[in-house]
Symmetry: C2
Subunit: 306 residues, 2 copies
């Protein structure tokens, strides 16, 4: 297989990081930029990373996908509140065998994109990373950095494996995982902590340090696990909730992405992180009363935050 050509749509803390790593390892990567376009064209893209800093002085940056070459692999790092933009952003990038990887949080993301592009090869990218885009053209990668790829609808396994290999060669810890299981496993952590840190304007450590909210977080995790089980994902059980609690106990006090969105008065990713999984669980006959309450609190908060 020839070297793959990459495109990054949504060059923020996540898409920007993985795209820059791939480019830094010698891959051809084309970046769609928004507010940072002029800055990056002039000064390049800088990554301050716990794994070693680097700068890409010459970045193949664009302000519109219409100007970009077609890609073999598209990495989508867009905020899911802008998901609808993919309907117009993606077509110029696609040839008949393009793989689109959604490196985003939530449930139902691939289903929607598949509905818009029925024949498209799709995969989920589940990033375990602390990073932020603090200044124009500057990504700060604090810790972690692995990515799990779950195949949603890519029948070209050779392509899928080649992407995994490119990630690994670029120094990224990347593994193939079961799509649905991986998305729901991530939801076990994401659904309680993203919303609760916003609803109570706090961080992970204080939620777990208070006995009342510690129990609530655990109950919410069990709602996610119950829903996953009802949807046929059987190898997630109570022990996974315990593991997530313990892992979070050992983390530094942490503000999840939704808390950062709230703090910076950006729209919160309520639809894919809450509304969609709650609807999927409901369709399988499983209520998620605590997480639905949290969704409604977040909708209230979001309605006057930006």
């Amino acid at each position: 297989m020839e070297k793959l050509k990459y495109a990054v749509v949504g060059t923020g803390a996540i898409g920007g990081f993985y795209g820059a790593k791939l480019a830094n390892a010698g891959n051809e990567v084309h970046f769609l930029m928004h507010s940072d376009y002029d800055y990056v064209r002039q000064r390049g893209l800088r990554v301050s990373s716990c794994d070693g800093d680097f700068t890409l002085p010459e970045v193949s940056a664009y302000s519109s996908t219409e100007d970009m070459p077609k890609a073999d692999v598209v990495l989508v790092g867009l905020k899911s509140t802008n998901q609808h933009l993919l309907r117009t952003l993606l077509p110029p990038l696609l040839h008949s065998d393009t793989l689109v990887i959604l490196i985003q949080n939530g449930i139902g993301l691939e289903a929607d994109v598949q509905e818009w592009f029925p024949g498209l090869a799709l995969a989920a990218g589940l990033a375990f990373i602390c990073s932020a885009k603090t200044d124009p053209g500057h990504i700060r990668h604090q810790c972690y950095g692995s990515i799990n790829l779950g195949n949603y609808s890519c029948s070209n396994d050779e392509l899928f494996q080649a992407v995994l290999r490119d990630f690994c060669l670029a120094g990224i810890d990347a593994h193939e995982v079961n799509y649905a299981e991986a998305r729901w496993r991530k939801a076990v952590w994401n659904m309680p902590f993203n919303g609760m840190t916003v609803a109570l304007q706090t961080q992970t450590d204080r939620l777990l340090g208070n006995p009342a909210t510690r129990q609530l977080i655990y109950d919410q995790m069990m709602e996610v696990i119950g829903a996953a089980n009802a949807l046929g994902i059987n190898n997630i059980d109570e022990s996974f909730a315990q593991k997530m609690m313990q892992m979070t106990d050992e983390m530094v006090p942490y503000s999840p992405s939704m808390r950062l969105d709230f703090d910076f008065h950006r729209p919160m990713e309520i639809h894919y992180i809450y509304t969609r999984p709650i609807a999927e669980a409901h369709a399988a006959g499983i209520p998620m009363p605590r997480l639905q309450m949290l969704e409604r609190e977040l909708l209230f908060i979001d309605s006057h935050n930006h």
Copy 2:
């Protein structure tokens, strides 16, 4: 029956109002005062009321129940966060036939006092009133003002009826109601609105104006109704929730007492408004997941608010 002798324990916005109305109508009323004692001894007690202002220039005020005469009727207007104080405050006021009326919010209040004083005659006072003690010795009564009395353990019906008559003669709209039904009916409004106005730092009108929180409030009301039904209180149904929604739609934007406690950094009445009814429902096999989540959010908020 001779004229009844009244004592008021907790001379705040509620106990102070009803006690002052009774005294103003010529009843003998003795008031336990706390921070206002010196002020009221010197300057009396002033009531600014939508039904007409009045002042009691000479108030029978005390700083300890040890100094007070025994009473036929004790009105308790204490914040339920101080409920344990009743164990020492009440004994000096009690003779063998004293009726104690708890004009407080929540579930389980009478059960606890009965456990401390097994033979005591108890009743619930359910006040429908907007009032506040804004300055020392000054109660502002904005609107409403009726009180429902529910007999919990008073076998002397002559006494119970005489109290109702005294309230009516003092210009207070007072009625006898079924104890358990009345406490749970009040909880249908209290449990959603008290906590949600704190959790989302808002008022009743905004909670009902947002479709997400409007639905949440309704679901929470239905949790209370489900619990009441499971506890054998069968004449509260969905139509009561609809009635409470409509009544609240028609009210001015309102901050319930828990929101005021939060704003003034006072402990919130979480135990009797949430923990106890949730425990009673749980014992009857009914979970209240949304209200239990709200309880836990409130415990978190309360833990660093005073």
